[in-house]
Symmetry: C2
Subunit: 68 residues, 2 copies
Amino acid sequence: RLEETGHVVSSWDMEGSGPARRHYTLTPSGEEHLCEWMAVLERLSFSLARFAADVKSVVTGSVPETAG
Amino acid sequence: RLEETGHVVSSWDMEGSGPARRHYTLTPSGEEHLCEWMAVLERLSFSLARFAADVKSVVTGSVPETAG
């Protein structure tokens, strides 16, 4: 549960028709946690792109743009 | 089996000590197929990076660099 980690808080929305709905809000620590994961995702995506470019360069026999 | 699609051919390597080893080689159609998948992977990685950047900009409240 994200609430137990303090990343999300919830409240009951009594307005409107129909049953009460639960309303979730990110806390500051939740926003920070999300940003950290997005940074992980970005690094992963860059690694994937570099891997794909490297495989293509090996197959086509061309020289890759960057080493390492 | 990749061999059934014509993307890979195999042969037996009888050299060296120990049992014969199977040797696999990409065919031209296999190389083309691999390059197509690497292009898919690159597009996916760019989508992931853009998604991560968009989430971060929403959380931090800053303006994203590019729209669309």
